[in-house]
């Protein structure tokens, strides 16, 4: 930690911010210190750490001071870390928080995650070494100490050897996993080819394929994650799974829909259903495919798509066109309303409020005034007082 210097934290001319991460603790070697909660910034030239509670406390180290970095995986109760091995202290270093240290490395502990991205970016900066080609302000000192080279050779060899061993071990694991993955993919590929062939035959009606068999086929595709090539079939969309799901959804969504005026956007439904499930979540496509079947299964909900592309689930008993009439009353009472204002008044999400107003406009009940101050709706006087 004695390589750090106090800094204002402001970037110099020519210095660019690459990535930042909050919730980072600094270790001097293996020792925790008082630098336990800060924002860590990586620029093209430096690593900067600013205390989250006391913004005045800000320290930095030039990237030229770094020899190499390694990752330390998270463990139980332990955050993921990056170990940064450093050159010896520069003789011309500006004052900093530590006068001396017995360690030649520091650790960055990511208590609020973000280690993956930070490591990736830091590795990139260490490879590109942009600080060498981009001159920055005076306060960033670059390690020009000629002694450093010789000292490096001595202490580093042991560390590099250890790293090499670890790398080989990791590589072996990865290559084994990768090999197994490749073999698996080969088999998956065969299935994809087979499914294409079957799909073609269904399309061209070769052989006697029953409706049951088609449904079976679709469930095979679902299991493998192969897109359904039979897009224009007339047997009804989805599989047994989606039918069951549709029925479940009808049960789960009845009350929430009633509580929300009979209508919810599909994203709201996605969040609601998945938060309730906790495990074995639905994919967005599962949800859409199930909802497409609601009407044909004569369930008390239906899927509706607005012109904007927004999709909603409505109770069958819900009539959006009737809601438009009451929306018109509300707008008339107030003279004019934006989607935000209408949403607050009625207690709806802004997204659905806007769709209702747009529908009212489409039906001719409202007129718009589209200016840079926003989109405002007025009762359509052309219609009523025409």
């Amino acid at each position: 930690m004695d390589r750090f210097a106090w800094t204002t934290g402001l970037l110099e001319l020519g210095e660019t911010l690459v990535i930042q991460q909050r919730g980072v603790r600094l270790y001097d070697g293996e020792e925790k210190g008082t630098f336990d909660s800060g924002v860590l910034l990586l620029s093209t030239h430096r690593l900067i750490w600013r205390d989250q509670k006391n913004h005045e406390c800000c320290i930095a180290i030039p990237l030229s001071q770094v020899v190499f970095i390694e990752e330390q995986a998270a463990g139980i109760g332990k955050s993921a870390k990056i170990v940064v091995h450093l050159h010896p202290v520069s003789l011309n270093k500006e004052p900093g928080p530590f006068q001396s240290s017995k360690y030649s490395y520091i650790k960055l502990s990511f208590k609020e995650h973000g280690q993956i991205e930070f490591y990736r970016r830091l590795s990139e900066e260490m490879t590109q070494r942009r600080w060498e080609t981009m001159p920055a302000g005076q306060t960033i000192q670059v390690n020009k100490d000629p002694q450093a080279g010789r000292v490096r050779a001595a202490g580093i060899v042991g560390i590099e050897r250890k790293l090499e061993e670890k790398r080989k071990e990791t590589d072996k694991n990865i290559s084994e996993a990768f090999e197994d993955l490749s073999k698996l993919m080969e088999k998956a590929k065969e299935m994809v080819e087979l499914s294409k062939s079957i799909a073609n035959k269904i399309k061209e009606k070769q052989g006697d394929i029953t409706e049951d068999e088609t449904i079976r086929f679709k469930s095979y595709l679902l299991s493998m994650g192969i897109a359904n090539p039979v897009t224009r079939e007339t047997y009804g969309s989805g599989t047994q799974y989606h039918m069951q799901l549709a029925k479940q959804l009808a049960g789960i969504l009845q009350t929430p829909l009633e509580e929300r005026g009979g209508i919810m956007s599909l994203t709201e439904v996605y969040c609601l259903v998945n938060r309730a499930r906790g495990l074995e979540l639905l994919s967005p496509e599962d949800l859409v495919n199930a909802c497409k079947m609601l009407e044909s299964l004569k369930l008390p909900l239906r899927l509706r798509r607005f012109d904007s592309g927004v999709m909603v689930i409505e109770l069958q008993s819900h009539n959006e066109e009737e809601m438009v009439a009451s929306a018109l009353e509300t707008v008339s009472e107030k003279g004019s309303l934006t989607a935000d204002e209408f949403a607050k008044l009625v207690g709806m999400s802004v997204l659905l409020a806007k769709e209702r107003l747009l529908l009212a406009e489409k039906m001719g009940h409202l007129c718009r005034d589209d200016s840079v101050e926003g989109l405002r709706f007025y009762p359509n006087l052309f219609l009523t007082q025409g």
Partner: protein, 241 residues
């Protein structure tokens, strides 16, 4: 029921039976793979990327359904679908500030904050894949490349090539002016103004008329990146229906 087989052609039913058998075998292979490497996928984002890329190459989407083998046995599904929920919530909470545009970096920061200490770390690649899946919900999710990163759109506003190109121009400084657009893109004033007005109306740009020289159009999505602000409790409430 006469089944006639032409020379060299196999009937669909026969192929279906063959597929059923292969499927069972594949399921077993996948179970074996999962027992050895499930942790690797969970902990190693690079391996996740490789896995996704290989699936894409052969025409398989492991995230298409929670009922798919990949999701069930490797657990990749829940990871991405839950991430989807978190992404939706963050975007909803911040929409009034940035009009529904947010940088991938800021989204990443906010999602990590929301996940809490004990959750698994996620990479930006993970976020992008989750977002691609969310598009099908019709809420206007989109990914716009700008500078070296991406802007994530989460509202059904129409953003065509003209809008995108201006966003890319604005990315460098966080704002853009009519003159800059005319100089860099060689457009007429009218075209530049139309694009900027559209962004203003959608709440994605704010107008600074007091800037020295000419008015500046700022993108809140870009200038909050450096000062990752907290999501207030009121904003969080807006996000949960």
């Amino acid at each position: 029921q006469a089944k006639y087989k032409e020379r060299g052609t196999v009937l669909a039913e026969d192929q279906l039976a063959q597929m059923s058998k292969q499927l069972d075998m594949f399921k077993t292979n996948l179970e074996e793979f999962a027992s050895k490497h499930k942790q690797e996928i969970r902990k190693n984002p690079k391996f996740r990327v490789q896995f996704q890329d290989m699936c894409a190459t052969i025409g398989v989407d492991p995230l298409a359904s929670g009922k798919g083998f990949w999701s069930e046995m490797l657990g990749v599904g829940d990871f991405y679908y839950e991430l989807g929920v978190q992404i939706i919530e963050v975007c909803l909470a911040l929409k009034h500030r940035n009009g529904g545009l947010i940088t991938l970096e800021e989204l990443h920061q906010q999602v990590l904050k929301g996940r809490g200490k004990f959750a698994q770390d996620v990479s930006q690649d993970d976020l992008l894949r989750a977002i691609k899946k969310l598009k099908v919900l019709g809420n206007g999710f989109g990914i716009i490349p700008v500078g070296g990163t991406y802007l994530i759109q989460s509202v059904p506003a129409e953003l065509n090539m003209d809008h995108t190109v201006v966003l890319q121009l604005a990315e460098k400084k966080g704002y853009v002016t009519v003159s800059e657009i005319k100089t860099s893109l060689k457009w007429e004033t009218e075209r530049a103004k139309q694009v900027l007005e559209h962004l203003l109306k959608e709440g994605m740009a704010w107008l600074d008329t007091q800037a020295a020289g000419e008015p500046q159009y700022w993108l809140p999505a870009l200038f909050t990146e450096l000062y990752s602000q907290e999501i207030t409790p009121e904003e969080a409430k807006e996000a949960i229906p």
